[in-house]
């Protein structure tokens, strides 16, 4: 009986203690970093090689396909991609398929452009948000200027010097989607399937696990998965950011969760054993 009560307590746990344990595990390495080494995955290397392979001066397309809810995972990726491209002299056309992505794109873009001394209109431009992501992605395969008659600030797109000679995916060596949703898949289906665009995707962890089939077939040329993916990319370009800074906390927190699963299941097994023992000896 005593053992049953004890195992029941073990199996139930006190929520407040569990919450506190999580908070402490995450906070501790943020205040006192451990600087654990970071291994770079094959998918992240492929992603990096794609940007590395773009000739300086050419224009790539970067789509901010996320909103503030997943900023923590995806902002470090967008920033690292922009830093990498700008540093290499690759020009970047930026857009978003979410209205909530406008403010994020503007902030990240401003930071990366200022750091590298890039000018609006020649080195980069922001097309802003367009309603209806599927029609937008498809329309851009026919004509960028048709899809976006003006940029986000109302300048006619035809007049941007960045876009001279650039009007479809055929003129763009690489499309980068940083996405919190199935958008990365829709880029593959529409920009890739119909217009043969070359695509790499940065994804939230939740989305990343779903797109392995597209990596294997080559429909996606590279992928960054979650905050870990961002950290890997930061290491590849040799400039640490929020991704690398978060990895210690991420490591410890994962071990804590695994510990919780093991302890919880231990309690569950003991409880089940105790229940069986009771049944066996009434």
């Amino acid at each position: 009986m005593a053992r049953g009560a004890w195992s029941a307590r073990l199996a139930q746990g006190d929520r407040r203690i569990l919450f506190l344990a999580v908070a402490a595990t995450v906070a501790f390495p943020l205040l006192w970093p451990l600087n654990l080494p970071i291994r770079v995955s094959r998918e992240a290397r492929a992603f990096h090689a794609e940007i590395e392979g773009v000739e300086p001066g050419r224009v790539i397309l970067l789509s901010f396909d996320y909103e503030p809810d997943t900023m923590a995972e995806l902002d470090p990726m967008s920033l690292a991609v922009l830093r990498h491209a700008f540093r290499r002299g690759v020009r970047v056309l930026v857009m978003t398929t979410y209205a909530g992505g406008v403010g994020i794109a503007e902030r990240v873009l401003a930071q990366a452009a200022a750091e590298n001394g890039r000018t609006y209109g020649t080195d980069y431009a922001f097309l802003g948000y367009n309603p209806d992501f599927s029609a937008t992605i498809l329309r851009m395969g026919e004509s960028l200027r048709g899809a976006y008659p003006t940029d986000h600030y109302g300048h006619p797109t035809g007049e941007l010097s960045l876009l001279q000679g650039v009007d479809r995916y055929a003129d763009i060596p690489l499309v980068v989607t940083i996405s919190s949703s199935a958008l990365s898949e829709y880029w593959v289906i529409w920009a890739g399937g119909k217009y043969h665009a070359r695509i790499v995707a940065g994804n939230t962890a939740i989305q990343a696990v779903l797109i392995y089939p597209f990596l294997q077939t080559g429909q996606l040329a590279g992928m960054l998965g979650g905050l870990k993916g961002a950290a890997e990319y930061e290491r590849l370009i040799g400039r640490d950011g929020a991704g690398v800074r978060g990895m210690d906390a991420q490591s410890l927190a994962h071990f804590l969760i695994v510990l919780f699963i093991l302890l919880g299941n231990l309690g569950f097994l003991l409880q089940r054993r105790a229940a069986r023992a009771r049944e066996a000896s009434p």
Partner: protein
């Protein structure tokens, strides 16, 4: 105090209001959530109007004379008929247009990119062209995909060979869900790390700024 510093303090208070849900559902949380719904809808609608009506319609039609966009405007107006109960049927034209257009381009693209190419990607490579490990992996993927198709096949009882295949299928599904499980946990923790970075790093910096 700069607007940005004030902003960080406001953001911190609202962050704590949302975290208060951990204790239990309470008025601070409810306030924050209701405010979020309103403010975000307001943020969106300004961009919807700017991008959808001004930049996508008004500028090209009125300023650039692209009159072929007019039917889009008409369909948009039909959509507005929804606001009146007796106008519901008029808006059906706009809805039918929208949904059918999407359906039209969805069909071949999905069949080609999500089905045919995925099937092609599952075919085994020629014997001897890849390493033993890669061939083994390819065989496992083929086995898994085929077994899952059987698992989700509802036109026959799952007995005999079909039963065995579907039991294999569910095992593959479970490992796949396990991977999703791990990645979902990872994602949620990353978001928490983001908020803690804000509370432990950005906020103190702003507070120091203010107190100086």
């Amino acid at each position: 105090m700069s607007a940005a510093d004030l902003g960080v303090v406001v953001a911190a208070l609202l962050t704590l209001a949302v975290f208060s849900f951990l204790y239990r559902d309470n008025p601070f949380y409810r306030f924050a959530e209701s405010l979020l719904v309103g403010v975000s809808a307001g943020y969106y609608v300004v961009h919807y109007f700017d991008a959808g009506v001004v930049r996508k319609f008004w500028v090209p039609v009125v300023q650039q004379g692209q009159l072929w966009l007019l039917p889009g405007g008409v369909l948009g107006l039909l959509m507005l008929a929804r606001l009146h109960p007796r106008g519901q049927w008029i808006s059906r034209f706009a809805i039918a247009f929208y949904v059918a257009a999407w359906s039209g381009y969805l069909i071949p693209s999905v069949l080609q990119e999500r089905i045919l190419r995925q099937v092609a990607g599952t075919f085994l490579p020629a014997a001897g062209t890849t390493s033993v490990g890669a061939l083994l992996a390819a065989v496992l993927v083929l086995l898994g995909v085929a077994a899952i198709l059987v698992y989700f096949y509802f036109s026959a009882e799952h007995r005999g060979l079909l039963g065995a295949a579907s039991r294999v299928g569910i095992l593959f599904l479970m490992v796949g869900f396990g991977a999703s499980f791990g990645y979902t946990v990872m994602g949620r923790l990353s978001l928490l790390i983001g908020r803690f970075q804000f509370l432990l790093q950005d906020l103190p910096a702003s507070l120091r700024h203010i107190s100086h």
